[in-house]
């Protein structure tokens, strides 16, 4: 396996971006879960699909755009989607969760139109939906690296503001913190992570890499910092085990990564149960 990684560029791209995403998705995921935004991540991934499908259609139709990396439009639509969700949550103050089905169906509807307009691009699309070991280009890897730097800097600099506004939003506002602005930035960052992750795990499974390691970590961790560390360890393990399995068994990595995450979650739940029984 290591020899193969050293030999093939595409494998290096997949493993390096996989390892970066294994850190990013659960790191941001901890904040997404405690802010109760898990479903919003799912809605955003569907908007990203619309951008990807739109870009694939454009590159098929216009020769000048043939080399356009679909990730760019994917990122742009995810960011636009995140801002639109916030707008909707403001409009429907008493039914904030309405933003999710609205954005999700808009994303899927647009995707369906672009896919049928292009009448095809099935292999490309399949890799975007469920991830791919072989389709990650060097350019994709660089995009992931840049997003990683932005996201880690954001969380490092705004850690205490993110913590206090996640734990007790009213207290944060009463303290005079600019919670709205921080939340808006947070949503844009979420969109970036979703766009970065989808090359490896696929659009349909992005939210699982964001939420499953966190679900396992919450069962075991005693503190917030510990939750972050556990979530990253679980996410990273799932990505590595998933990518290796996908490579050897010729499967879509999205599937193998998610199944590994589920197994980690089950083990975490079991460990918690045993620990609770022992302490009684």
């Amino acid at each position: 396996m290591i020899a193969a990684i050293l030999q093939y560029d595409f494998l290096q791209n997949a493993f390096l971006s996989g390892m970066i995403i294994g850190v990013l998705a659960p790191l941001l995921g901890v904040f997404i879960v405690v802010r109760r935004l898990s479903l919003i991540a799912d809605a955003l991934s569907h908007v990203t699909l619309a951008g990807i499908a739109g870009s694939l259609y454009l590159s098929q139709t216009f020769v000048g755009l043939a080399t356009l990396n679909p990730l760019y439009l994917g990122i742009a639509s995810a960011v636009a989607g995140s801002l639109f969700i916030e707008k909707l949550r403001g409009v429907y103050k008493h039914f904030e969760e309405l933003a999710i089905p609205i954005i999700m169906s808009a994303g899927l509807g647009l995707s369906a139109i672009f896919i049928s307009l292009a009448q095809g691009f099935s292999t490309d699309l399949f890799s975007y939906l469920f991830g791919s070991v072989s389709a990650v280009s060097r350019q994709d890897l660089w995009i992931v690296v840049i997003i990683a730097v932005v996201v880690i800097a954001f969380i490092y600099l705004f850690y205490k503001e993110l913590f206090v506004s996640s734990f007790d939003a009213e207290y944060a506002r009463a303290s005079g913190l600019r919670t709205k602005a921080i939340h808006m930035l947070f949503m844009v960052i979420t969109a970036l992570v979703i766009a970065a992750s989808m090359r490896i795990v696929g659009i349909l499974l992005v939210s699982s890499l964001i939420t499953l390691p966190v679900a396992a970590a919450i069962r075991l961790a005693k503190s917030f910092k510990q939750t972050i560390v556990y979530a990253i360890v679980f996410g990273e393990t799932a990505v590595l085990v998933g990518l290796i399995t996908a490579f050897y068994l010729n499967l879509a990595p999205g599937g193998t990564i998610v199944v590994t995450s589920i197994m980690i979650l089950l083990i975490a739940m079991l460990v918690k149960k045993i620990a609770t029984k022992r302490s009684v």
């Binding site: 405690v34 109760r36 490092y156 600099l157 705004f158 850690y159 205490k160 503001e161 913590f163 206090v164 996640s166 734990f167 007790d168 009213e170 207290y171 944060a172 506002r173 009463a174 303290s175 005079g176 913190l177 970590a217 919450i218 961790a221 005693k222 503190s223 917030f224 910092k225 510990q226 939750t227």
Partner: protein, 250 residues
């Protein structure tokens, strides 16, 4: 010594869509006061608190905090806020007492500064003040209602505020802890802290409170506790059944 007014409300009115909640309310709270805002459910207590904290904008009227117009007032860390325990946070939140108390420093530290140089000492001092130091590494969700409330007071105290504002501090707290709570407030007040608490708990009258504001749509009484105690039950019950909407109709 002339005491400085820390909160000055003038002619405050507020309404949610079509429901009028507060009507032409004026109130001034001075440095060193221990004020209880008393009122029945739906009297506008929480609304008034939110207006003071800048969470809601009044329909009319002006607010001054520490002598400065509220919208221009930047030293929010001077006001320590203790939110109502029951709905303040998600009980499953994975955080330790230490992390929660440290979060009280967020505004004081300002953007991009990750922690205070003596953060550990500040956390321990704040927890010591509420007698919760042994719980430093415990998960916040595992504590009882009374203990959680003391942690939230420590979170407010860590920024060394000049005034504490507490929303329904005795809801969901057992009798023994209510007594401990009022003792703690008395101690802080004696040390110079201005304390404002909103409650429908009448036992507050027994405690170290110096002033009482009786609120139901507007201020019906505001003055020393002794004056409130001298009022007849009939008078208080008339105020408690008062409605701002009725006044408009008449």
């Amino acid at each position: 010594m002339i005491k400085q007014p820390l909160i000055e409300l003038q002619n405050i009115s507020f309404q949610y869509d079509y429901t009028k909640v507060l009507s032409h309310l004026s109130l001034s709270i001075n440095e060193g006061d221990f004020v209880a805002l008393l009122g029945p459910n739906g009297s506008g207590k929480s609304t008034l608190l939110k207006i003071i904290l800048g969470l809601l904008k009044p329909t009319t009227g002006t607010i001054h905090l520490f002598g400065e117009e509220a919208t221009k007032f930047k030293k929010r860390e001077w006001i320590g806020y203790v939110s109502q325990k029951a709905n303040a946070f998600n009980g499953g939140f994975p955080a330790t007492v230490k992390e929660v108390v440290a979060s009280g420093l967020t505004k004081k530290l300002g953007l991009f500064k990750r922690k205070a140089h003596n953060q550990q000492t500040l956390i321990e001092e704040a927890l010591q003040a509420v007698d919760m130091l042994p719980y430093l590494h415990r998960n916040i969700g595992e504590l009882s209602g009374g203990q959680q409330q003391r942690v939230f007071i420590a979170r407010a105290l860590i920024a060394k505020p000049k005034m504490l504002i507490l929303d329904e501090p005795t809801v969901g707290v057992d009798q023994e802890n209510v007594a401990i709570f009022y003792d703690l407030m008395e101690k802080l007040n004696n040390e110079g802290m201005t304390v404002v608490l909103v409650t429908h708990d009448m036992t507050v009258v027994e405690s170290a409170v110096t002033n009482i504001a009786c609120l139901n749509g507007k201020i019906h009484y505001y003055g020393p506790k002794e004056g409130y105690e001298a009022l007849t039950k009939e008078q208080i019950s008339v105020w408690y059944s008062y409605s701002v909407e009725q006044e408009d109709m008449s």
